[in-house]
């Protein structure tokens, strides 16, 4: 028993030693390497992969433009959403550009830039399971709400529907399938996905509440304590939104469905 404990302590101490960190400005690091590594996760239509494995989407456009303006190449590191912040902290990439909503809880772990986009939660429900016409009607113990693990959608579900049962999935398609199969009453996600779903399956799904019912600022996330990089990102966002470029991209990805042919 003593030996097992000793070995265990040895292993633990090796691991903790690995966590001593020195601070280097990420901006300098990116310029020096000529490459910016971007953490992201598949999230229609923010970031998607085509059949050849190329990335497309709103966030991808933003990341590419940011890299171009810095004069460096861009490299995407697809990651599971539930592990996206830990991977940033361990240095697997320099920045998260993945439609990440700014929340006080996340801001304790990472630093956010000023918002470059606003998103909101939207809901879609199964006609067979509920007849609700408002959010309040969904807040009862018979409702099962599905959402993606670790997202602000999950947080919103807890806040708006404290009495309902919440089921979380690692990826969105599983959550959507659960709703389509009628095992869940409603699915919460950032707009415009729920609206798209309701349009695709008009016989089965409907939106109890049209449009978004929350407003969320979206920012870039970087490791804490890197003011220089944050300053640069904030200036960049100010310039690009003044140009109207962000608005234009947003319309392309969120209001038109022209991009769907890129996936075929």
């Amino acid at each position: 028993m003593k030996k097992i404990l000793l070995t265990f302590l040895l292993i633990l101490s090796i691991f903790t030693l690995c966590f001593a960190d020195e601070k280097v400005s990420t901006l300098d690091h990116i310029i020096k390497k000529g490459k910016m590594r971007v953490g992201m996760s598949t999230f229609v239509p923010w970031a998607m992969q085509t059949k050849s494995g190329d990335f497309i989407g709103f966030e991808i456009d933003v990341a590419k433009r940011l890299a171009k303006d810095m004069g460096v190449a861009v490299e995407f590191v697809p990651t599971k959403w539930s592990g996206i912040i830990p991977s940033l902290l361990t240095g697997n990439y320099d920045i998260i550009i993945g439609g990440m909503g700014i929340t006080p809880e996340r801001a304790l772990k990472v630093n956010f830039s000023i918002p470059y986009d606003y998103s909101g939660m939207s809901i879609v429900a199964n006609k067979n399971n509920t007849k609700a016409k408002s959010l309040e009607e969904l807040n009862n113990p018979n409702t099962i709400i599905v959402a993606r693990l670790g997202t602000t959608a999950a947080e919103t579900a807890k806040k708006f529907f404290p009495k309902a049962k919440l089921k979380l999935f690692d990826d969105e398609p599983q959550a959507i399938q659960e709703l389509l199969n009628g095992k869940a009453s409603a699915f919460i996600s950032s707009a415009p996905l729920p609206a798209f779903l309701a349009l695709e399956n008009p016989t089965k799904l409907y939106q109890p509440v049209k449009g978004t019912f929350t407003k969320e600022p979206i920012g870039f996330a970087v490791r804490k304590g890197d003011q220089e990089f944050l300053n640069f990102l904030n200036s960049w966002i100010t310039v690009v939104s003044a140009e109207g470029w962000l608005e234009e991209r947003k319309r392309y990805w969120f209001e038109s469905k022209e991009w769907e042919k890129l996936l075929k």
Binding site: T7, C18, T42, V44, K80, S87, T90, N92, I176, L263
Partner: protein, 256 residues
């Protein structure tokens, strides 16, 4: 269940035509799965043989250390081992491994990208491989230990009485036989390795499971993709199992 199948959408994820035949995203995943499985097989054979030999030959601290380590890995879920190695080892590796130097020359960069992984994936790839290799290696070490213990003590005595040292007896008599006898069991472990590489998807290694999940997230063809994943793993593993069966027969013939 109410579901519209879109099987005709699937082939393009394997190969598609666009200025020449190109490899699709799922097939790329299969290649990664095979690559990481082979690397893990080699590494786990190394760790496993080391552990198995040390545990059956040596005494004292070294033996105790390996016993505890093997017990540790055998009683931990592989996904946990994977995360621990990814977050702790990965952090250290990215600090001390001089990635820019490794990838500075085009030839070396091409070679490493082909055999192991491109620059942005190297650290997760290595940490995931080492994590899984230690996990699989702990099982292999038990197989090897069984093989060594299975060689009859009379042979050791005979060797010593012929004037060989204990070291020579093990190197020339015991270990070769032990390995030969355990070959089928070892290769059987390869099937388990391939199955467990699916866990590497959680640390974003673009292997079969991860790539398929990416396709799933974009296309929402949930049942088709899961069926495809299952079929691919089954086909890979069944063909390996068949090969192992043949080898097993050969080994049996030799020892009967």
């Amino acid at each position: 269940m109410d579901y519209t199948f879109n099987w005709h959408e699937i082939p393009k994820y394997f190969v598609y035509y666009e200025n020449g035949l190109k490899i699709g995203i799922i097939l790329k995943g299969v290649i990664y799965t095979i690559k990481i499985s082979i690397i893990i097989l080699i590494l786990s054979l190394f760790f496993g043989s080391l552990g198995g030999i040390v545990m059956s030959i040596s005494k004292g601290f070294l033996k105790e250390f390996f016993l505890v380590a093997v017990n540790f890995f055998r009683n931990t879920p592989p996904i946990i081992v994977m995360f621990i190695f990814y977050f702790f080892l990965g952090n250290t590796l990215s600090k001390y491994l001089k990635l820019e130097m490794l990838y500075s020359s085009p030839f070396l960069s091409y070679l490493i990208s082909m055999v192991i992984a491109p620059e942005q994936l190297l650290v997760p790839f290595i940490s995931a491989s080492i994590g899984l290799s230690l996990y699989e290696g702990s099982y292999i070490s038990e197989i090897i230990r069984g093989g060594i213990n299975g060689v009859s003590k009379d042979q050791i005595d005979a060797g010593i009485s012929l004037g060989l040292s204990k070291f020579e007896v093990y190197i020339h008599i015991v270990i070769p036989q032990a390995f030969e006898k355990t070959i089928p069991a070892l290769l059987g472990q390869f099937v388990s390795i391939i199955k467990n590489t699916a866990i590497a998807s959680v640390v974003a290694i673009p292997e079969l499971t991860f790539q398929s999940m990416e396709v799933l997230a974009s296309s929402r063809m949930i049942i088709e993709i899961w069926v495809i994943i299952m079929t691919l793993y089954f086909l890979i593993n069944i063909s390996i199992s068949k090969m192992i069966k043949r080898l097993e027969i050969k080994v049996k013939q030799k020892y009967s």
